[in-house]
């Protein structure tokens, strides 16, 4: 997730939007919040709080934000904007997947490949 995704912001977010999103993020993952009850471990909650803080520190500072946006633009040009998460989902076709055997092989490889020994 990039900083904008962490704070649920659009790329054109104003300073006020950033402040609001930061407040909501801190409230959401606060220890006393009910929003993560039964779903997140302590570790995951801390991780998210750290990421929110990091995102805020970078987006709240205009110069840091400019540099970050520039970096993201360059990265986008190199990697093609991570289209696998960004494609329209209006038309879902199960046939989008590869052939049955091929899919099974790939997922089997992902889940059952031997782990490297320490």
């Amino acid at each position: 997730m990039d900083y904008y995704e962490i704070l649920n912001l659009g790329k054109n977010a104003s300073q006020e939007d950033i402040e609001k999103a930061y407040y909501l993020g801190k409230t959401t993952y606060n220890r006393d919040s009910l929003a993560h009850y039964g779903l997140l471990s302590q570790r995951e909650r801390w991780y998210m709080l750290r990421k929110i803080e990091e995102a805020y520190q970078n987006l709240n500072n205009p110069e840091k934000r400019r540099l970050y946006d520039l970096k993201m633009l360059q990265k986008g040009a190199e990697t093609g904007n991570r289209v696998y998460f960004r494609k329209s989902t209006l038309k879902l076709e199960i046939e989008d997947a590869g052939e049955k055997k091929s899919l099974w092989k790939r997922i089997k490889y992902i889940l059952f490949s031997p782990k490297p020994k320490k």
Binding site: A35, I94, D96, I107, I110
Partner: protein, 313 residues
């Protein structure tokens, strides 16, 4: 694969003249029936063509929320083939433009509806004409309720600002997600993966997002299929019985957590304030919306209805 395990239909294209909303959630007493009944009353006053279905198979009581004591026919007549069409069980209500398909309390074990009866029910819901259909589904995460919720557009999850309610709501959403993923995986005969998904969710990491990241790191296109399958599932959230500003914000916070950790987008429709008059209206068998038309809860319900209509005109 047994028939029981299959989702009736993976992709539903409702007829264009109709939207089907299902009001559900894991925990009992959150206000599902209250919200379903009052949304229907409000929409009927605006659109004149609303059908409310009491699909709480284990404990129907929508008729009580509408102030209706008796009905000639109910869902039991349909499921026992006493009537051939679901729409034959529709009853007019005291509200212009609103019809009710009443749940049955005459047939034991109705909650254990078998797969074929469920299919028949869904087929008939999609077949009759009405501008809006609102289905009140029961408590819990049984396969029948999950399927009604998944197949509606959108499913509306009702929660209260209490840990038990929130815990059950997440369990309900996770069950929906597993149900969707499982159906896709079964389509490809990847049964071992089902167990892995369950382990992933019940183990240390409960993030569906991290599950996807694992697959993406090795093959984007296969992850894309499953991710897209989930992306079609876009439920809405209502925070009922809100007592403070913090409770209002909690809905937004839950939507954020769901998006980040369950990899689905849930739309927060807003909060309905706690109001003791709801109990009073129930005791009087008098629908809340018409008894307290200017209350804060009524105004919130109307705003929520408008948001729903805007996104499903």
């Amino acid at each position: 694969m047994s028939a029981k395990e299959k989702i009736p239909e993976l992709s539903v294209h409702h007829s264009p003249q109709k939207t089907i909303w299902a009001v559900g959630g894991g925990k009992g007493g959150t206000g599902k029936s209250f919200i379903a009944a009052n949304l229907a009353i409000h929409l009927a006053s605006q659109e004149k063509d609303v059908v409310l279905i009491d699909a709480d198979l284990g404990g129907p009581n929508l008729h009580t929320f509408l102030g209706m004591n008796d009905a000639r026919l109910d869902l039991g007549h349909f499921f026992t083939n006493k009537v051939s069409r679901l729409e034959d069980t529709m009853a007019f209500t005291p509200f212009d433009g609103l019809r009710l398909i009443r749940g049955t309390d005459q047939i034991p074990f109705m909650a254990n509806l078998n797969y074929y009866k469920k299919l028949k029910f869904i087929r008939h819901v999609k077949a009759f004409y009405a501008k809006r259909v609102i289905i009140d589904i029961g408590t819990g995460a049984s396969l029948n309720y999950l399927d009604f919720f998944i197949l509606s557009n959108p499913g509306i999850l009702v929660v209260n600002p209490e840990p038990t309610s929130i815990e059950n709501a997440y369990y309900f959403l996770k069950s929906c997600i597993v149900r969707i993923l499982k159906s896709y995986i079964e389509h490809y005969n990847l049964k071992d993966l089902i167990r892995r998904i369950a382990d992933q969710m019940d183990g240390q990491s409960k993030s569906i997002y991290s599950f996807f990241n694992t697959i993406i790191s090795l093959n984007k296109s296969y992850a894309q299929v499953l991710y897209k399958a989930l992306n079609k599932f876009t439920p809405c959230l209502i925070m009922n019985k809100a007592k403070s500003e913090r409770d209002y914000l909690l809905g937004e916070s839950m939507a954020d957590v769901v998006q980040k950790y369950l990899a689905i987008k849930i739309r927060y429709l807003g909060a309905i304030p706690y109001d003791e008059n709801i109990q009073i209206s129930l005791q009087k068998l008098s629908p809340y919306l018409s008894t307290f038309p200017d209350s804060k809860a009524t105004l919130s319900l109307k705003e929520i209805a408008e948001r729903l209509v805007e996104s499903n005109p």
